[in-house]
């Protein structure tokens, strides 16, 4: 049995989510090959050779792979898929985008957001915004999985896998990357942070998120938000934690001015410790919080920031 994991990277470096995907692959057992498809991606390829549990790194350098366009990436993966029993990627925006294309071209079902591996063909995944867990067995020849990164510990960086160049697939002409606009932040990445401070509608406006920024800076935390805060334009979309945003499972999650709708809980209820600060004593968030403080956030957050000195 051998497994192909498709790495996520920005050409210069490997994305952390790849380490979780490799960890899931090693749980299944067998040879784990890691594919780096990029353009001038020697940095990412060098990172990939160090990932623990990887037996070989497949490297493709072509302009077509510069921006992870799914048409190109899927065609490449399908061209390489023949010997593999499993094809795995992290369930990030990139993984969710190209993997179903791979599955369809292989005429296999895809199993999305796998949170546990029961056997080589049996997997657990959440449905209904995390309100139920389904155990499913695949009868397909190739198991195509995306794995929820927060459900698997990251693979170590103590490996030394050989690098092998593989040929590029023919480029797809009908999709073209135009440009991108990334949110700049010096804070840790939301999905990988140890501590997350999130704000909801109760923040009232974007300016007030400065209160959370100050607290986050003190804690070395990432800042997240509920959909209400994103929709109201307080913070950019990529801050959103929930069923349709990012799934996080940090050591500490501090929910500020967030009521705790089903869709938000889906994105954070696997956090180790949950703190809720909300002036509404009846807010549903208190039903999942380990520590709840029923208080006005405009008093409590600055006080908390100060108390951490």
């Amino acid at each position: 049995m051998s497994i192909l994991v498709i790495a996520e990277h920005n050409n210069a470096a490997l994305h952390r989510a790849t380490l979780n995907a490799v960890a899931a692959a090693t749980q299944i057992g067998g040879d784990v090959h890691l594919l780096i498809a990029g353009h001038e991606a020697s940095g990412a390829a060098a990172d990939a050779t160090k990932v623990g549990g990887v037996t070989k790194v497949l490297y493709v350098d072509a302009e077509a792979y510069a921006h992870a366009l799914p048409e190109n990436l899927a065609a490449l993966v399908v061209s390489l898929a023949q010997p593999y029993s499993h094809v795995i990627a992290a369930s990030t925006a990139v993984g969710k985008n190209f993997m179903p294309r791979v599955a369809a071209l292989l005429d296999c079902a895809q199993i999305s957001e796998v949170v546990a591996i029961k056997a080589a063909d049996t997997f657990v995944r959440p449905i209904y915004a995390g309100n139920a867990l389904a155990t499913v067995r695949s009868v397909d020849p190739v198991k195509v999985l995306t794995v929820r990164t927060t459900a698997f510990d990251a693979a170590s960086l103590e490996g030394s896998a050989p690098l092998e160049s593989v040929p590029a697939a023919a480029p797809y002409e009908r999709a073209r990357f135009v440009d991108q606009e990334l949110t700049k932040s010096s804070r840790p990445e939301l999905a990988a942070a140890n501590i997350v401070v999130s704000g909801g509608r109760g923040m009232q406006n974007g300016d007030n998120f400065k209160l959370l920024d100050a607290l986050a800076d003190k804690l070395g935390a990432a800042v997240g938000a509920s959909r209400a805060a994103v929709d109201a334009g307080f913070v950019p979309n990529d801050y959103q934690v929930g069923q349709t945003g990012k799934i996080v499972a940090p050591q500490l999650y501090i929910a500020v001015g967030i009521s705790g709708a089903i869709q938000h809980l889906a994105g954070m209820k696997d956090s180790k410790v949950i703190v809720a600060i909300n002036k509404d004593n009846e807010a549903p968030i208190f039903q999942v919080a380990d520590y709840g403080l029923a208080a006005d956030l405009f008093d409590a957050v600055p006080a908390l920031t100060e108390a951490l000195d």
């Binding site: 921006h67 399908v78 023949q82 925006a93 990139v94 969710k96 985008n97 179903p100 294309r101 599955a103 369809a104 071209l105 005429d107 296999c108 079902a109 895809q110 999305s112 957001e113 449905i127 209904y128 995390g130 309100n131 139920a132 867990l133 389904a134 155990t135 499913v136 067995r137 695949s138 009868v139 797809y172 009908r174 999709a175 073209r176 990357f177 135009v178 991108q180 990334l182 949110t183 990445e189 999905a191 501590i195 804690l219 929709d231 979309n237 990529d238 349709t244 500490l252 089903i262 869709q263 180790k272 919080a289 380990d290 520590y291 709840g292 403080l293 208080a295 006080a303 108390a307 951490l308």
Partner: protein, 270 residues
């Protein structure tokens, strides 16, 4: 085994340049209403959805709204809503037509459809109807798969733009902004193409009573998977369903000082 994926076929795109009509196909799914908290059946055989409120998947509402807006601005000429599933999906199609879709198609089956099966059904319908754009929701809030649009694009050999927050049609091109981890990116696709909607794309309109009445008179065609020559047999065997381990409520602390102490000493989280 991996022979022809239709990847390099320009046939459809040439046709659409000559064709003055721009048809949009919008697949819609009937799901448990997003406000309902479902329960797993005691025997683990499934999720209890009897007697709960069903609605159109929220992402699909956004897809219908987007298609109708493209028609209202004169870019698109026809909007076709399609749903795959049991007879009651007709209600979902009527809702789509009340928002403004011109006609509906139900691909009726009692089989529990997986995304791959839906994608194959839609591919067969795309071959028949030849839409230049297919707009789907990015995921259904019941199975949370986030697969169907991408699978359809693959099977039809079309380009895709998932998680769209803005769609601009210009001649034979769709310029789409999409939500990615860390920000946004813009793609340019040659039609025909597949787009899946993010929540940010638009705010769906409320359906009015006159429009609901009008929708009742619109055409609703019913076909079967067999008519399309598609095998919809599931590929995944559901072994069991369980409730996730529930978190119980912790304690309420009276003030910030106690909170910091608890986090430091009891939870060791700071």
């Amino acid at each position: 085994m991996f022979a022809d994926y239709g990847y390099f076929s320009n046939r459809l795109s040439c046709e659409c340049i000559r064709n003055p009509t721009l048809k949009i196909l919008v697949p819609v799914k009937r799901v448990v209403d997003y406000n309902v908290k479902v329960r797993v059946k005691a025997d683990g055989s499934g999720v209890d959805i009897s007697n709960v409120k069903m609605s159109m998947n929220p992402f699909d509402e956004i897809a219908v709204e987007e298609a109708v807006r493209q028609k209202e601005t004169g870019v698109a000429t026809e909007v076709i809503a399609v749903s795959c599933g049991i007879s009651q999906c007709q209600e979902t199609l009527r809702t789509a037509m009340a928002i403004g879709a011109d006609r509906g198609i139900l691909i009726e089956t009692a089989v529990e459809l997986e995304p791959l099966a839906v994608a194959k059904l839609l591919k067969a319908l795309v071959d028949k109807e030849r839409p230049q754009l297919i707009i789907l929701g990015k995921q259904a809030i019941d199975d949370d798969s986030n697969q169907t649009g991408q699978m359809l694009a693959a099977l039809a050999g079309m380009p895709q733009a998932t998680f769209a927050s803005r769609v601009t049609l210009e001649g034979s091109t769709a310029v789409v902004s999409r939500e990615v981890d860390g920000g946004a990116e813009t793609l340019s696709l040659t039609l025909p193409a597949v787009v899946t909607t993010d929540l940010r794309l638009n705010e769906p309109r409320y359906v009015t009573l006159p429009n609901i009445m009008k929708a009742k008179k619109k055409s609703l065609e019913i076909i079967k998977p067999d008519d399309l020559g598609v095998d919809v047999t599931p590929r995944l065997k559901i072994m069991k369903f369980v409730e996730p381990t529930t978190r119980s409520a912790g304690i309420k602390v009276p003030d910030v000082k106690t909170l910091v102490e608890k986090l430091k000493i009891e939870a060791k989280a700071l």
